[in-house]
């Protein structure tokens, strides 16, 4: 009894009733007598009754089964052969594969060439315009540099002329005494007015005009 109780406690539970649980679902994890357990005493000497076989019915059924299975086997083998033949027909050889790949590649190249050609028209037109613009810009830059260079030259020449003219008024050791006399003998009058813009007013009537304007 303890042996059995030990079994029941460890092993999964048996079906209850008709094998339908409370929820109505069939529970499938069930008890099965393990192979290492000995046969139950009530079953040791049990001999099963051989299944009753009606000889005529049995012979008839066997014949029917033979016919049926032969036919099914024949159909299956026929279909299989057909399938294999179909596959071998459709099978592409290595050379054919290479040829197909080559054809595909040629098509790809042709399509791409067409595409590139249409784009090349647009691209070359754009590049021509850009090239013309670039050249034009370059020329303008060169011209501008040339003009600036000339300007600088002219400016320098004028500067030189001015200096040459001014050189006549330079005070040298020979002129020194004369120039000193000159400066000492001249007098400058600093009593003059200037307008808003900094220009010197010459006569008294001008001065009146300026004062009148400022009042207005």
């Amino acid at each position: 009894m303890s042996f059995l109780s030990g079994l029941t406690s460890k092993a999964p539970k048996a079906f209850t009733g008709l094998g339908v649980g409370k929820t109505g679902l069939i529970q499938c994890v069930r008890w099965r007598k393990p192979r290492w357990l000995p046969k139950a005493p009530s079953k040791i000497f049990k001999v099963r009754k051989p299944t009753p076989i009606d000889p005529e019915e049995d012979a008839m059924l066997k014949k029917h089964f033979h016919h049926y299975r032969t036919v099914v086997r024949a159909i299956r083998s026929f279909l299989l052969k057909e399938d294999i033949a179909k596959m071998s027909k459709e099978a592409i050889t290595v050379e054919e594969k290479q040829q197909l790949a080559q054809q595909e590649w040629e098509w790809v190249i042709a399509e791409n060439y067409k595409w590139n050609k249409t784009i090349a028209v647009v691209r070359e037109a754009r590049q021509r315009i850009e090239e013309a613009q670039r050249k034009d810009l370059q020329e303008r830059i060169v011209k501008r540099d040339e003009e600036e260079r000339l300007k600088v030259l002219i400016e320098a020449e004028q500067e030189v002329l001015r200096e040459k003219e001014a050189a006549a008024t330079f005070i040298t050791p020979e002129n020194l005494d004369i120039e000193i006399e000159k400066v000492l003998n001249t007098r400058t009058d600093y009593e003059f007015a200037i307008t808003e813009n900094g220009f010197r007013v010459e006569t008294e009537t001008e001065l009146e005009k300026v004062s009148q304007n400022s009042k207005n």
């Binding site: 008709l18 094998g19 099965r32 590139n116 647009v122 691209r123 754009r126 590049q127």
Partner: protein, 171 residues
């Protein structure tokens, strides 16, 4: 809100990536795109990279894709194949749609091939299928289903031999 950072973060979503239509043929190994910033003629190529590169790389993880900027006077795409062949595609002054459709035509798998591949993939992925080409041989492998009768015998009521056996009618 800093969740989807960057410009057009929709490009990083799975939905967008899965919608990519360009799947290269097995022979295509490398794709190189040369374009220029600040050039109107390169705008199509630039946009192509911006919008379609993530999709292409997602669908072709084994293809190396490179982009070079401001190295050549005009934009172009180069495709390098496994047998050493090279293909140059001029993309000057073309929109990204044109570029994509042309590349698909010359180097992408055709639609029918893609459909067939998708079907086979679905058959494999479909969890309702069992057998040699699928993830599982039998439904008994799934936890929660009836265990394999070779391990735990089915209850009486589910066995054919019981169902079809002639039993005396119980009163």
């Amino acid at each position: 809100m800093p969740f989807m950072k960057g410009r057009a973060p929709v490009r990083r979503t799975l939905e967008y990536l899965n919608k990519g239509k360009l799947v290269f043929r097995e022979s295509v190994k490398v794709m190189t795109i040369n374009f220029n910033t600040n050039q109107e003629a390169s705008r199509g190529a630039h946009e192509f990279i911006f919008w379609h590169l993530p999709q292409i790389q997602f669908k072709n993880p084994n293809v190396q894709i490179l982009s070079f900027r401001n190295m050549t006077p005009s934009p172009f795409i180069q495709l390098f194949f496994g047998d050493g062949k090279r293909l140059l595609v001029d993309v000057d002054s073309r929109s990204r749609y044109d570029i994509l459709s042309h590349i698909r035509k010359i180097a992408g798998k055709p639609d029918d091939v893609l459909q067939a591949e998708e079907l086979t993939q679905q058959e494999k992925l479909n969890p309702g299928n069992f057998g040699s080409k699928c993830n599982r041989w039998c439904i008994c492998e799934v936890p929660g289903q009836i265990p394999c009768p070779s391990i735990a015998p089915l209850p009486k009521q589910m066995r054919g031999k019981y169902i079809f056996k002639k039993r005396p009618i119980e009163d």
